[in-house]
């Protein structure tokens, strides 16, 4: 009942908003409906914590012997954090969106935000992989057509098609993984994923997250309102992270070479994405890299046989990232608020991400572990940089905006603190504390070095101050070309064009005047084969 209540609190205001805007438009009333619905749903999520785990069966396909399928929702200690995080993001987006002068916000976009969050919640609460596949398919289509209708730019539309392609593949990989899983347990839910299928589940999640293989089909859609875009970008990520968190720990028992390849790709994706994050011009430009880097962290946790701890990095991605990306305009006077967002990322003992280190680094110190510490340092460095570079001074803000804008950011930080205290026990343990210390050390060293050299990563002087800059630039450029996978797509296009030509030639033969003769030839060949077979009997 509580689950339906939460879903209803988002869906009904979305419908009410649409109707009220159609009948008698009122900005204030619409805003109130949106914020009331989202806030109540968010509070409902905390109330739900008292009743975990909670399960609701929506539909059972009968007869059981034929389908073995029940579409249902479940909230447990694994996905509840994501539930809270998404709802917090929804409230924060509505609060901050209305405060932006530049974004020309509208009640229609709030209705979209509420509806999108609702779909997201259903996806996060999926009880079984099949339910998740169904919701993925629906959410992707909703997003596809929403973007196609909202965005006029032809270039963006082409990218949307590519983005949808990646999602489609990930949905089918999830279906294939489910089919594999069913060989062990018919009608399996997330608690019954067998190790034999877990790698496919991991690949499905990795594809959706843009990590396996590394893909950034849609860097940024400037035509969208910042809040809506943030939710759209986070929406596929959240459910994929939940999927990772549900995986069994025994992935490593599978084909070792395949696991090694995936592990290497994940580390490379994390390194590349965090380096790109550190060096972007602003946080919005770096957002896809932020998502990929922290998603790679979550994947690493699963590969290190601790998928249940992947949510630590998932929370950092959503909440710390949410604070930073919603800090737009970056007003200098209140930059201490997003700085607090670092609490969710640093992983210092007794903070939210503390328990993520042991899962991220695995057993002992190895090359992958060191690479991960380096990635973390770059992420923290980039985060700090984008906040410290904030220098806007906004005048003429509406009175209400002076409250709602910081309130939206504080709400996310508050969510972090609450999750820290009540979310999970591991956050209060002193585990692998040296990971965060090493990372912070690297950040400090980097900061001192850049300060000493007087370097700003975006400044023009950098070329003169860094030794062998042109060599480094060349290396980075080559790496960027490799990791962008453009070469792979270009090769695929070339191969496809070749196949198209071959197919056209074949068609010419088969559908031409002599086509029937070819069919007869096939018949003849088959007859000879048959004759040989019969003769042998």
């Amino acid at each position: 009942m509580i689950i339906f209540g939460i879903l209803g609190l988002l869906l009904l205001p979305a419908i009410a908003l649409t109707i009220s805007q159609a009948i008698k438009p009122s900005f204030a009333r619409s805003w109130f409906i949106a914020i009331a619905g989202a806030s109540l749903a968010w509070l409902g999520a905390f109330f739900l914590r008292l009743y975990l785990p909670m399960e609701v069966e929506l539909v059972r396909w009968q007869p059981e012997s034929l389908y073995h399928t029940a579409i249902g929702l479940r909230v447990d200690y694994t996905n509840w954090h994501y539930l809270v995080a998404i709802l917090a993001l929804c409230v924060a987006v509505i609060l901050t969106d209305s405060s932006r002068l530049s974004s020309n916000t509208s009640p229609a976009s709030w209705a979209a935000i509420l509806a999108l969050t609702d779909l997201n919640l259903i996806s996060v609460m999926s009880r079984a992989p099949l339910t998740m596949a169904v919701i993925w398919a629906i959410t992707d289509l909703v997003e596809l057509f929403y973007l196609l209708i909202t965005l006029p730019s032809p270039d963006t539309k082409g990218k949307i098609a590519t983005l949808y392609g990646v999602r489609l593949i990930s949905t089918f990989v999830l279906v294939a993984a489910t089919a594999m899983g069913w060989q062990v347990t018919a009608g399996l839910d997330f608690t019954q994923i067998p190790p034999t299928a877990s790698l496919l589940f991991l690949i499905a999640a990795g594809l959706r997250l843009g990590v396996l293989p590394l893909n950034f089909p849609m860097q940024q859609t400037l035509e969208l309102k910042p809040g809506t875009e943030l939710l759209l970008r986070f929406s596929p990520v959240v459910s994929a992270l939940v999927l990772i968190a549900h995986l069994p720990p025994e992935i490593l028992v599978l084909n070792q070479s395949l696991v090694s390849i995936i592990s290497t790709l994940t580390v490379l994706a994390a390194l590349y994405a965090s380096a790109m994050w550190l060096t972007r011009a602003n946080a919005n430009e770096g957002r896809p890299y932020w998502i990929v880097a922290l998603s790679a962290f979550a994947l690493r946790c699963a590969l290190n046989s601790q998928p249940e701890h992947s949510y630590v990095w998932g929370m950092a991605l959503l909440l710390s990232g949410g604070v930073l990306f919603l800090f737009d305009p970056p007003i200098r006077r209140i930059r201490f608020i997003p700085l607090l967002g670092l609490l969710g990322l640093l992983g210092l003992p007794y903070t939210l991400a503390a328990s993520g280190w042991s899962a991220l680094l695995g057993d002992g110190v190895n090359a992958a572990g060191i690479a991960m510490i380096l990635c973390h340092a770059m992420l923290v460095g980039g985060y700090l940089r984008y906040i410290l570079e904030a220098n806007s001074t906004v005048t003429g803000l509406e009175k209400y905006a002076r409250i709602t804008y910081p309130l939206g950011l504080i709400l996310l930080i508050q969510a972090m603190l609450v999750l820290n205290l009540a979310g999970w026990y591991d956050a209060r343990l002193m585990e692998t504390w040296w990971g965060s210390v090493a990372s912070l050390g690297l950040v400090l060293f980097g900061a001192l070095l850049t300060n000493r050299l007087g370097i700003r990563l975006t400044s023009q002087e950098i070329k003169e101050k860094i030794p062998f800059y042109r060599l480094w630039e060349r290396i980075l450029s080559v790496l960027r070309d490799i990791f962008s996978l453009d070469w792979l797509y270009a090769s695929a296009r070339w191969l496809f064009a070749l196949l198209e030509k071959a197919s056209a030639f074949l068609r010419l033969i088969l559908e031409g005047e002599a086509g029937m003769l070819w069919s007869f030839l096939f018949l003849l060949i088959m007859a000879i084969l048959i004759y040989t077979q019969v003769g042998q009997l």
Binding site: P63, V134, Y164, F172, A176, Q183, E511, S519
Partner: protein, 475 residues
């Protein structure tokens, strides 16, 4: 009164009546549509014991009708499938009003439906081959575009289907009285091969598929969709009948793996060839091919539960074909400059967003995307396939990938306008009537409902294959 009289002779009589009024297009379309609906509804609700009482009177229907010393037997277990065939006829006739298909479409579509029912009812069932040939001959009237000479595709269709006839008939003659022969005799093998080749030609299995894209490129999408939906659905059931009635055939070692391989190869060929297509009109041919591949795979896996896939997929597949054919026909009516090539479709999403979306969604539905109507059925096939030791999975994945690639290329073409399009005309400019938008949305919604609640919408069709008690023993 007998069931063949109701579902074979009565529709043929209506069809003959329609010949007289074929010039009154609207009237003939309405008569054909409503009578099809009536036959479909009657077959769907007809009692299993063929007995019922009405207005205090008791009616009993015979399942057998004797004609020329041959029997037409339409048992209660076959009526579910008969209702499906008439429902398909209803759907296609309903849209006939809107498009300039052949004026003979209502007449011929009803006759074709009745003939397919008779092909499934005739005993000895080998005579069905002659009825199939008759259907093919009649169908050529429909698939030849109005006012144009028969294309090479039509001729090839005729030739291919005609070649299949002697294969099927010869097999029956060759293996007459074979029941007592040893199972591995050369005769059995020869008979089996003849049957397989006959069905391969009928079903346009790879590599005998070449007439399909040729026909799809020239014929009206609605007509092509109807003719081949009826043909493939009925022939699958007919193949099941062969397997059910010939014990020597179904007991032959290797027959089911052979069917699986033929299915997988056809599915693969359909998927790969579709991915290389750049004409949407021709794509329905490859959809027909991939669905035939899936069905043959399902029949090959009948012992593992492939029959359920077949039974559950009839209705959603037909609706997806209908949606695709209807949308494409409607696009070509609203925008006559669209010749089906990707270039002509460029940026169409801006003008016809709901039609463009409908094209994509109908294909995604056929692909088996979760939440859509055919997904519960296809999922069964994939689940069974995943459990096999045979290396099907990569080939199946490749087929799905090929079809997905085509969908994505189509999506890209639909949403990406020509490079020099002025920015003012990049905004959505709807040219679609409201009722069409509602219809397309309703179709998609219905497909989603079928996919999410298959037990409500699809379970009634589980009885479709109930007649094949040897192949699928009742639980």
């Amino acid at each position: 009164m007998s069931t063949p009289t109701i579902w074979i002779f009565l529709p043929i009589a209506v069809s003959i009546l329609l010949m007289a009024v074929h010039r009154l297009h609207k009237l003939s379309v309405w008569i054909a549509a409503l009578s099809s609906l009536l036959f479909a509804a009657a077959a769907f609700i007809f009692p299993q014991d063929l007995d019922f009482s009405m207005f205090g009177r008791h009616f009993h229907f015979d399942s057998t009708f004797m004609i020329l010393n041959r029997s037409l037997i339409l048992s209660a277990s076959q009526l579910r499938f008969v209702s499906l065939l008439y429902f398909f006829s209803f759907l296609w006739n309903l849209t006939g009003l809107q498009f300039s298909t052949s004026r003979w479409f209502p007449t011929i579509s009803l006759a074709i439906t009745a003939l397919w029912v008779s092909a499934l009812a005739v005993e000895p069932f080998l005579y069905a081959a002659a009825i199939v040939e008759l259907i093919v001959l009649i169908s050529t009237l429909l698939i030849t575009p109005r006012g144009e000479p028969a294309s090479s595709g039509v001729l090839r269709y005729l030739v291919t289907q005609t070649i299949a006839l002697p294969f099927i008939l010869l097999s029956g003659w060759m293996v007459a009285g074979i029941e007592s022969a040893p199972i591995a005799s050369a005769l059995v093998l020869r008979g089996t091969i003849l049957i397989l080749i006959g069905f391969a030609l009928w079903l346009a299995v790879f590599p005998f598929h070449t007439f399909l894209p040729m026909l799809a490129g020239k014929s009206h999408p609605l007509v092509f969709g109807f003719v081949f939906l009826m043909q493939q659905s009925s022939l699958w059931v007919f193949l099941l009948k062969f397997l059910d009635q010939f014990a020597w055939l179904r007991n032959l070692e290797g027959i089911f793996p052979a069917l699986q391989w033929i299915g997988v190869l056809t599915l693969l060929a359909g998927g790969i060839l579709a991915s290389l297509q750049s004409k949407v009109n021709r794509i329905l041919a490859y959809l027909v091919m991939t669905e035939t591949g899936c069905a043959l795979l399902g029949i090959g896996l009948i012992a593992q539960g492939g029959g359920a896939f077949l039974a559950l997929s009839f209705l959603p597949r037909a609706l997806a074909y209908w949606q695709w054919s209807y949308t494409l026909s409607s696009i070509q009516k609203i925008a006559p400059e669209v010749d089906g090539s990707f270039d002509s479709l460029r940026g169409l999403f801006r003008r016809l967003p709901f039609h463009s979306a409908s094209l994509i969604l109908s294909m995604l539905s056929l692909l088996g995307l979760p939440a859509f109507g055919i997904f519960p059925a296809k999922r069964m096939l994939w689940n069974i396939g995943a459990g096999l030791t045979l290396p099907y999975t990569p080939l199946l994945s490749l087929a799905v990938a090929g079809m997905s690639l085509f969908i994505l290329r189509l999506l890209r073409a639909l949403v990406t306008p020509e490079p020099n399009t002025p920015s003012s005309s990049l905004l959505i400019q709807r040219e679609e009537p409201a009722w069409q938008i509602i219809l397309l949305c309703a179709l998609t919604l219905f497909s989603l409902l079928m996919g999410i609640f298959p037990h409500l919408f699809l379970n009634p069709f589980m009885e479709t294959l109930g007649a094949f008690s040897e192949l699928m023993p009742p639980n």
